[in-house]
Symmetry: C2
């Protein structure tokens, strides 16, 4: 059989990084590479009870559900969003298989091959893959610690006439950055006045350190009914558990309606078992107390990682201390290629993701993403000793 | 905000049928329209116990899983397929969100806009939607009671040079037909010798009436290692429950690898809660006894439907008595347009799906699909009285 795969299949070719990370499988390597929440904080008993409550309702819970998702859960998410200053009713909401699917569905209904999408420099790896698989043209906007730089954004809007801007303004993957209020507003204004849709990806917003007030989402800054210029997506993966694969996306009814139809073709609907259980969790579990517990634990881990890095006194190595989320973004001196460093690091018994994977174009080859949520305290110490040895070898 | 949706979004426009069926919501209408399994046979206690067993394993069950799906479940499906004469190892298998997603993922990795896909005349509505959303060109192959007619298939292969043939050879949706062995073999031979990939969609194969031996799948007829010319998909939706949204697709490793990467971009992975529970169900539940129970019950319902239709003595109305599955396909006299009939039927209090929705092109407007699995015995009697009244009105 001579297979004739589609042109877009090329976008899914395996990356060099994935190949290196495969080497870590089955070896005693400490991984700072993944984006995994810490299992220690999964509320397994509460989730188990939630499923019990669902099954007690009888056989009907196992039937096909709405493509839009289980309505009582959408109502609970709507209330949850209200606490964050976001107004979105059930008709403005679609439940998805993780927020990853929200990115994919919006891309399907909004992007044609050749359309331009503006992204942060750097941005989320798996969003790049979705956009490239749609044969979109990706253009990176220059960013600083506060977010997208308005002058560069404006220039690139005028030059490329993009349809979409994709952003992770709160505790970004991979950088851990949180945008300033001013930059959120300027990005919204620029996009709105140029009819550019914003996809605001917010999987980490609840993982806020320091106990302060949350930064408003771009969606909530949008005053048009239902956030006309902004589509917003988030997920339970980081605040409850990833295995439940439940995310949501909100936006204008017209956008959500199109996405719902696309989802109907894609998979009819996501697991309503998981959706019904999450509804029970909202009703019978102290979700916000639980989130507070995760926040505190992750902040401690982040602090340990930063302290360990400081103690190593690495020459010319810089990072941004995140105010939330799961990652620290590290810039090595320019002559260090982190893909080369990764090979040595894996030999020493530690893994990370080289930054190159997070750039749609013009990669900074001296960067890396470190995850601090999944590694326990003792392993974290070992990880940095190993990384230190690898770094000494590359410096030679 | 002036939205600029993608060209393919047009494929998802709401159909006239969907609009009519919306009228049934909240009214006391008996629906023979849906494709719903009967809730009465959902093994809710066994599923609940299966979830309990999963949660007893601890917090780790809530972590992210493999895109390919939970390995022990893939092993169990592999054994399940062996019983059907299908050899497929875990590396030839991807777990999906229902078999609907398998259709979508194969389309993504195999079809470019403008590529030709051959389908049965008629075929599964939601597959047509997926293919059209990819801007594929659909060509219907003429079928009789035994399956695709080889002469027409060969002619259309030579004329259109298709990349893919999509078939539901066993208890088809919408026709309930099961292809003869000869037609399965001739379709395979023709496709194989012309490098045309076959997507064999088999959601209903287990719902076999009459207790005889199952007809071999086209996949199992394919002698090349791993069924090189055939990709096969099925699901737990009809034999356990749809809410668990778990399907699988098997094929050549190369095809499965590409589909896995496409799935990674689409949603990372499907619910591993549901996959782990289904694994426990294989281990601790008499799945095959359960399937036998469903078969018997559905056969009784099918028999009732056919008997009711016979008793009505409708002039010039024909149907094929299905040997399995969930549907009876009815051909009315040529002058009856079933879309018009549906409006009257809904007024009388009964709904069905007009056949037009199941044709990729050249629709037979005098056809309809009736579901017999979801309506209980008393309502079935009422449904045909109502349909009878509607038919008398249209005949006037």
């Amino acid at each position: 059989m001579n297979y004739r795969f589609s042109d877009t299949t090329k976008a899914f070719e395996s990356s060099a990084v994935r190949e290196i990370l495969k080497l870590t499988q089955g070896r005693s390597i400490i991984s700072l590479a993944g984006g995994l929440p810490n299992e220690q904080f999964f509320p397994v008993e509460a989730v188990s009870e939630a499923f019990d409550r669902v099954f007690k309702q009888g056989k009907g819970v196992l039937q096909y559900g709405l493509t839009e998702g289980y309505t009582p859960l959408r109502e609970n998410i709507s209330k949850h969003l209200e606490r964050k200053g976001i107004r979105a009713g059930v008709d403005n909401m679609l439940l998805t298989t993780g927020s990853q699917q929200a990115i994919d569905l919006l891309t399907r209904v909004y992007i044609d091959p050749g359309d331009v999408i503006l992204v942060e420099r750097p941005t989320y790896l798996a969003a790049i893959q979705v956009f490239q698989s749609r044969q979109a043209k990706l253009v990176s906007v220059d960013c600083d610690a506060d977010g997208m730089i308005p002058e560069d954004l404006e220039r690139k809007i005028k030059q490329h006439r993009p349809k979409l801007v994709y952003v992770i303004p709160t505790f970004s993957n991979p950088t851990g950055k949180s945008w300033s209020l001013e930059r959120r507003q300027s990005t919204l204004n620029l996009c709105k006045s140029n009819d550019v849709l914003i996809l605001e990806d917010d999987p980490y917003g609840e993982l806020r350190f320091g106990g302060g007030e949350p930064m408003p989402s771009i969606f909530s800054l949008e005053q048009e009914a239902n956030g006309g210029a902004v589509v917003y997506t988030s997920t339970f993966s980081k605040i409850v558990a990833p295995a439940l694969r439940t995310g949501w996306v909100i936006g204008d009814e017209q956008v959500i309606r199109h996405m719902t139809r696309a989802k109907q073709a894609a998979d009819l609907h996501s697991s309503t078992m998981d959706q019904q259980a999450l509804h029970q969790l909202f009703e019978h579990f102290d979700l916000y107390g639980h989130i507070d517990q995760i926040r505190t634990a992750y902040e401690t881990r982040m602090r340990q990682m930063i302290d360990l890095m400081k103690a190593k006194n690495w020459d010319g190595v810089q990072w941004i201390e995140p105010k939330g989320g799961m990652f620290v973004w590290v810039e090595m001196p320019e002559h260090i290629n982190t893909q080369e460093l990764l090979k040595l690091a894996v030999e020493e018994g530690v893994a990370f993701v080289p930054g190159i994977s997070f750039f749609a174009n013009e990669p900074q080859t001296n960067t890396m993403r470190l995850n601090f949520t999944h590694t326990d305290s003792e392993d974290m110490v070992r990880a940095f000793d190993r990384l230190d040895r690898a770094l000494r070898r590359v410096e030679k």
